[in-house]
């Protein structure tokens, strides 16, 4: 069946329909990762967006359900150059087509994804529509597209109620550990790649703003007991549980929409509990403490962005997925100073909070998909909790 991707600037791509049969309007973004389409699809940060993969061959290794970063795919739509006819991987459960259909995600294949990417690069992220209706009304659609906003998506993607993820139990609960640990064919952990349980006994409160599973896993792998809280949990409730540290997760949408969450985060900031935040969590902490964020032209989405750790000068390749960024020009050094910058465009990739046990990053140390190079930040967080406990 024919399908069309229509952008709000009037550009139309004709391709083949894939996935669920429905029309969607969404914000169109592109991701440059060459592997990890399932992790991209199941990353809650894509809620409210339709993702175009710049790598042209998608679905080659099917769907390995154990690699899902949440319980379902979140993008409104999926845009690819070519969907593989067969899946080929020993762990593959179903094909990507089956997965999209089963989860009601429509998409389009066979379009010039590079041309689309160039439009988004030149004109900036914009809204678009995927439809199979050959007689679409461009004027009416354009009006709808222009009116579209991602809205308060965090509330859609967060968990319903708090739950535990214990260090020792993760393996059985969540299948093989992803990230830098692997399991061998004999289902044994390769000793060298298992993290030291340096976080054993540490209680971490994870505020789920749309968290990828691997954040909790990365902590649990190090021995931490993680309690996951819904996004609208009050600061008071978290503080009353006496965590050793608080983790603010990634998540979708415009950070400034999260007014009430920002207010709660300010209260967390005011305690002396160590805090580590990723992506949306990082942006919300910045907003909570007087800094500003702005929307980037087309964001960073992929697994190849170099970020520089300003404390060591070392450069790490990071996994990224964000359309908004903290404005470094408006930072108050008395509150926070840059800790990481993006080597390519110099934008803010992390902050260190002055006089506080708080550090936050824009990129994704939990990887999945993407490089595992910055996983050491979880160890840094554990050290911080340790030092705080001893202080």
């Amino acid at each position: 069946m024919k399908a069309f991707l229509i952008l709000e600037d009037g550009t139309v791509f004709e391709g083949t329909h894939i996935g669920a049969d429905k029309e969607i309007i969404s914000e169109i973004v592109f991701n440059t990762s060459m592997a990890g389409y399932l992790e991209v699809l199941t990353d809650p940060s894509y809620a409210g967006q339709a993702v175009c993969m710049t790598y042209p061959l998608i679905g080659n290794y099917g769907i390995c359900k154990e690699d899902m970063e949440s319980n379902k795919p979140w993008p409104d739509g999926f845009i690819v150059r070519e969907l593989s006819r067969i899946p080929s991987n020993f762990r593959s459960d179903i094909t990507i087509q089956e997965f999209l259909e089963a989860n009601d995600v429509p998409g389009i294949a066979g379009i010039d994804t590079r041309a689309l990417t160039k439009i988004l690069r030149e004109k900036g992220t914009m809204n678009g529509c995927i439809t199979t209706d050959e007689h679409y009304d461009l004027a009416a659609l354009t009006e709808k597209m222009k009116a579209y906003t991602t809205g308060k998506v965090v509330e859609k993607v967060t968990c319903d109620q708090k739950y535990m993820c214990k260090g020792s139990e993760t393996l059985e609960e969540n299948g093989p550990i992803s990230g830098s640990a692997v399991y061998t064919g004999e289902k044994e952990m390769r000793p060298s790649l298992v993290h030291e349980l340096n976080g054993k006994g540490k209680k971490v409160a994870l505020l789920d703003l749309g968290a990828k599973k691997n954040i909790a896993r990365s902590l649990a792998q190090r021995g931490c007991d993680v309690t996951v809280y819904p996004a609208l949990t009050t600061a008071e409730e978290i503080i009353n549980d006496h965590p050793d540290g608080i983790m603010l997760s990634n998540g979708p949408g415009d950070p400034k929409e999260c007014v009430s969450i920002i207010a709660e985060i300010k209260k967390l900031y005011d305690t002396d509990i160590p805090i580590f935040a990723i992506c949306l969590g990082h942006q919300l902490m910045a907003l909570a403490t007087g800094a500003d964020t702005f929307k980037m032209k087309y964001g960073h989405r992929g697994g190849n962005h170099p970020v520089k750790d300003l404390s060591t000068g070392r450069v790490y390749i990071s996994s990224q997925n964000h359309g908004y960024v903290v404005d470094m020009d408006k930072l108050d050094p008395k509150v926070a100073t840059p800790a990481f910058v993006n080597v390519n465009d110099g934008t803010c990739e992390g902050l260190s909070y002055t006089g506080k046990n708080i550090f936050t990053v824009q990129f994704h140390p939990e990887a999945c998909p993407g490089p595992q190079d910055s996983g050491y930040l979880f160890d840094r967080f554990i050290t911080m909790m340790e030092e705080n406990a001893n202080a």
């Binding site: 060459m34 990890g36 992790e39 093989p176 830098s180 399991y183 992929g302 450069v315």
Partner: protein
Amino acid sequence: MPKNPNVKKVMVIGSGPIVIGQAAEFDYAGTQACRSLKEEGVEVILVNSNPATIMTDKNIADKVYIEPLTVDVIKQIIEKEKPDSLLPNMGGQAGLNLGMELAESGFLDSHGVTLLGTTAETIRNAEGRQEFKDLMERIGEPCAPSLLVENIQDGVDFANKIGYPVVLRPAYTLGGSGGGIAHNLAELESILENGLRLSRVGQVLVERCISGWKEIEYEVMRDSAGNCITVCNMENIDPVGVHTGDSIVVAPSQTLSDKEYQMLRTSALNIINELKITGGCNVQFALHPTSFEYCVIEVNPRVSRSSALASKATGYPIAKVAAKIALGYTLDEIKNAITGKTYASFEPTLDYCVVKVPRLPFDKFITAKRTLTTQMKATGEVMSICTNFEGALMKALRSLEQHVDCLRSYDFTELTKEELIERLKIVDDQRIYVIAEALRKGVSYDEIHEITMVDHWFIDKLAILVEMEDALEKGPLTVDLLREAKRIEFPDTVISRLTGKSVEEIKKMRYDNGIVASYKMVDTCAAEFEAATPYYYSVYGGENEAIETNDRKKVLVLGSGPIRIGQGIEFDFCSVHATWAFAKAGYETIIVNNNPETVSTDFDIADKLYFEPLTAEDVENIVNIEKPDGAVVQFGGQTAIKLTEDLMKMGVPILGTKAEDVDAAEDRELFDEILEQTGIPRAAGGTVFTAEEAKEVANRLGYPVLVRPSYVLGGQGMQIAISDAEIEEFMAVINQYTQEHPILVDKYLMGKELEVDAVCDGTDILIPGIMEHIERTGVHSGDSISVYPAPTVSEKVKETIAEYSRRLAKALHVIGLINIQFISVGDEVYVIEVNPRSSRTVPYISKVTGIPIVDLASEVIMGKKIRDLGYEPGLQPAADYFAIKMPVFSFEKIRGAEISLGPEMKSTGECLGIAKTFNEALYKAFLGAGVDLPKYKQMIITVKDADKGEAIEIGRRFEKLGYTIYATRSTANALKEAGVNARKVNKIHQESPTVMDLLLGHKIDLVIDTPTQGRDKSRDGFLIRRTAIETGVNCLTSLDTANALLTSLENTDAKKLTLIDIAQI
């Protein structure tokens, strides 16, 4: 970290002659590194024995030594030039080994030379098998269970413990020389013995066979601050068991999930960090196809063939960045030259798929085994880019210059389903064609996978291609079907064959329906950033990003395709120089080529690079977009020349010598007419199409005769025939492929072979010098030792050659380069052949005469006259030194190849010996080619009857040098009768000790064996020659070469070699 201010003068070691496993990729890497160093104001001293390289140009390095790559020579150069640093990781294994020896002996320290890029300890840890294994164990990276052995018994014991099959890998060899898989005790003993001898340190690793696992490679960069990135990963379609150089490779990996991808990526980074490599590094993994278990196969702490491929596949210039890292820069300080916006610390991401296919030499070595093993056999490779895998594979196949263009190019239709299943078990270069036929006959994916271990995903892609063939054949050819066929890159010629429609009809149908190629950019970033110097590849369907530019005159330079025997790196040298010359004159330059190993496909050589097959259709697509003002075809060897007619049909003017004049040189009758007019004699001959006609001509001329197809390079298909039976055999081989042009049969003349390369402007001719071949006629010029200036011919002959060259160039209206080969018999000079184009000897003669003939030819093509360019026409005065080009062979890599020299070219590369005297030059040339004698002073002579007289003199001279001579019966008798002391040894089929036992005893320096005619593989001679080569013994099949070697050995008293800086010539 900024640049290290202490590095001011750097020595770069090249990789020497092109051999299998070490090819043009190191010229590409070395050239890029030198340019990168010079950019930083560093003085570069270059050493490389290979004169055909671009890196040995005087504009690439400040001082250039084309000298043998031996420790002694490098030491001497260091003493003379006093560099402060040495960059050893650009010259492949050869360069790295030299750097190691100099470091380990303490020479570098005592001369204040720092090893740049990577420390000796790092190299030891990465390359020493045991050290590497220990290190991997320490950081918990898995290796296949293995043991380093120094004798056969230990190997046998270990194999018994871990079970067969086992893989054997000799330490410190290039291209996996001497390695292999042993399935039983006998195989183990045979391979192990050979491997122990070939290893630089006498060690071989015996390890668990992981054959059939996925083979995955990562190219990793690390700087001195410890920042690491991966440039690219690659997946071999042929699973572990086939050397990666012989595998079809795809980038990025296609069948790995992110978990697997990142697991191996992290492992690669852990390894490079632990080894503390600064620069580029290649890590090879074996990944179990149905679990997460993996093994590290090996690490190359240097630029490599894979890194050249990764550079071209991604646009990330690994060698350039590695050179900057060596100077102290960190990755985040080095700009990405393609985007101009990002930094070298940005990992490239691809929005296309890259396929590399090896170019195997079985068309040259028809007796050789085609099976592929862990020992590399490919001489070169092609790369292609497309947004889908099927298309990339189709493009790569037709780039091979091997008469293949689709999965039907090798015909297995005769085989039954059962036979095909058996045939699938053979791992050779035809495997994908066998899989395709198996799919046609209904063999299941599972069955194919089980036998070949090729991943289902790739099998499915082959199935898609097979289904398209069927659909086209069954018809009808609808617009949608045509569009889909073009999307997966079926060329019009194949569609025409399958549908029965003409190519013109197909083309018209395409154009009528807007099915035309568009071009996409390789930009390192999947379009995330705007690109400053991208290059292009074609796709069907989608927006075209290549924009026609009109501000300057535009020239299309056609490259030379994959490196193969007969068409090597020399033509890349010519293409690149021509491109530079045109650019200098203000032209916009466009290169089309498909070889990832070369300098010409570097992103900043031409204004625009199209990474495309060199077929008429692919070139026409580019012409349609670029509309060039002209094309030069005379620099790209036969690949480019054969496109001449097509370019003219497209309306592209051929710059330089006209197509009809090229034809006149190749067309026998036209050429005879020209010779008649100009009064130049040639050997009598005739043109034929069939064996019957050939026999008739041969009998008229009298045997022996030369038989060869016209329009070929490297003497492809050329043979000396002595009987009707041989004519039949050779004609059958030649006529395997439809010949568009007649076959030539000439009287074979015995004399001295001479050669000139010259530039002609239509009026005047400039001849830099005359080269004389040491081997008599009958040995292909590319396999002959070539001496400049010609040492043994009279002034009269030289004058005649200059005069004939002038007449020929003029009669053929040559504008640009011309190569002419002559025979002199006494003072008589005959023409053998004329090629109005660049030749193999062009880089050599330019370098040793200091006359930049490609630049001059380019100027002439653009309308200048030789006199305007500051040169006096005619034969230039001879230099006051000798320069000798020595062919280098890779016979040890090709099991079963006939090594005897003949009219068909067999060498893969060459090296140069240059010195004040002929004898020293000759000595250097042999040394550069790896002939370092004497060692044991024992030799074997076995010659055919006709050669016995000459063999006596040779024997006498060797005896005088203190050699013990062994000879087979009749040769021994002949020697003894003449008073040369020779020990008789038995022939192979006789009782022990035989000549074979002697060879296997490893105390023999040299074998001189002149083959009797005919190509019977079971002959003693063939076995002796193969055994000699496979046991690493020098083997000469021409008495002329033997004489030259003697001359060299008799004059090796001068231990201290004189060094010549080519940049001063």
